[in-house]
Amino acid sequence: MPPLLPYLSPTIPTPKFLNMPSFPLTQQRLTLMQLADSFFPSGSFTLSHGMEAMVQRQHITSAPEVEEFLRLLLHNRVGSSDLVALVHAYRASVAQDLTEVYRADRCLFAQTVIQETREAQCKTGQALLMVAQSVWVDAQLEDLQTAIEAEQTPGCHPVIFAVVGRAGELDEGDVLLAYLHNFVTGLVGAAIRLGVLGHLRAQQLLHNLSSDLLTIATQAQITPLSEMWSCTPAIDIAQMSHRQLQARQFVN
């Protein structure tokens, strides 16, 4: 009986014009795309990270301001805090050391002093875990779920993302980039919905940010867990006051 997918059969060479890499690598790439895709229902696309409050108060009114907001968040919070926990959790997950995964999780939770951000991290983390468990069969994902239910660990989104990425057999660099892509596209989408960015400008902005993403991903890989930091004073205040907005499209 011929294989159902003949082009994936090890006995039949892949047509050169497709330039298709080996099956595991293709599978990895598809997993990367699936995880980074806005279609993946992790709940992170309900977040504006303070942008909605800033737009309503007219602090963000144009595409350059959206770009500045994104760069600020990426360099002064996501890269210096979330990604550091993600890298630590990924390495611990690869080493099958769940205790270290929980340590990264609890450190990130304790260093996220703004309640609105903390709650969003936990809600989206748990939503991601729920979806991931239905896609990948993995003992660590099940253990994580049990630990969250037992309140042994809070389940912050970057940490769950790290373990899901490992379960999807992505390497560290790909998990970092998938997380960043997910974060940035979510916020760019929020900017479009808030009416401060058009679709074409959104694509330019995503392209413009690519070197920033590489820079902060590289920096996060050499930052110890004990040196997480953040410094976004105006965004902190915007996030803290988000609940006081009279009409809201986003969770934070």
Partner: protein
């Protein structure tokens, strides 16, 4: 499992184990009044005598830290330790703003605070602002060991240069890490800020800070209804030249208040009113005038 996690989360004390330049130990006498049980200060610090600024509040001691140097200079590594015994109350402040002076490239000044607040004790630490002069490089750590029944009110005001002479983000670097742990060493929360000066690409952006002067107020009161406290603190009449918001801290019954303003007096006035509100809602005697 939980015990194992707690052990791993036990954060090593972030202060070097070297002699302190200032040590104060607040004890409780037989009448239930807080008093300075022990104090030690060496250059550049001195400590005022224990003051009773409110004759109706003899349970509490008011102390001023005095710094006889011109400010923070390159190579300074100052260490301060303050311990509050059970049920003691201390209001601690200093005389004037701390100035971090210019330093040669590669040099910096450090300040390390260690506070221990035991069961039922109340610490209010309200220092004057920190001003970062041109070419200053300053690192500060604040390690607080807080009993679950202890209370903490701590403020900080940061001025990014001598603004009146047009000096704005001309310092090299400012690092500030505040960490609160339980007596068992478990991390309650940490707030870490790394602020670049001359290299700060966002310094002039209103999305980074709409107003130049930044402030934080940390309030941990184990027996106060946080929702009521939040509402009361947000009801303090706002000024147009400042922006203030608050949020609940992780792993404790506390709040963090972030603020920014165009001038220091606006923030000092807000913090003063916040302290009055905090004392009122936690059934403490009202805040007396703190002469400076």
């Amino acid at each position: 499992m939980v015990a194992e996690l707690n052990r791993l989360l036990t954060v090593k004390e972030i202060l070097p184990s070297q002699p302190h330049h200032l040590e104060v130990h607040i004890g409780l006498n037989r009448s239930g009044h807080s008093f300075v049980h022990r104090q030690y200060a060496t250059y550049p610090f001195r400590v005022s005598r224990a003051l009773r600024l409110d004759p109706g509040d003899t349970d509490r001691t008011y102390l001023y830290m005095m710094n006889s140097s011109p400010g923070l200079l390159a190579g300074d590594a100052l260490r301060l330790r303050v311990t509050l015994d059970q049920k003691t109350r201390l209001y601690l402040t200093d005389q004037s703003a701390t100035k971090a002076h210019a330093m040669a490239e590669g040099q910096r000044a450090e300040m390390h605070y260690a506070f221990e607040v035991k069961a039922g004790a109340i610490l209010e630490f309200i220092p004057e602002p920190l001003i970062l002069y041109r070419d200053a490089d300053f690192s500060q750590t604040t390690q607080i060991t807080l009993d679950p029944t202890g209370s903490l009110v701590l403020s900080e005001i940061l001025v990014p240069g001598r603004l009146a002479r047009g000096e704005f983000y001309q310092f090299h670097r400012y690092f500030n890490r505040m960490q609160v742990n339980t007596p068992d060493g478990e991390l309650v929360f940490a707030d870490t800020m790394h602020l670049s000066g001359q290299q700060n690409r966002f310094a002039a952006s209103p999305l980074f800070a709409m107003m130049p002067i930044l402030a934080n107020l940390i309030v941990i009161l184990p027996e106060v209804h946080l929702q009521s406290l939040s509402a009361a603190l947000m009801a303090i009449p706002p000024k147009p030249e400042c922006s203030i918001a608050l949020s609940r801290l992780p792993n404790c019954n506390g709040l963090v208040i972030r603020a920014m303003a165009k001038s220091v007096p606006i923030l000092k006035t807000y913090i003063h009113h916040a302290l009055i509100t905090i004392r009122h809602l936690s059934n403490q005697p009202t805040l007396p005038e703190i002469p400076k």
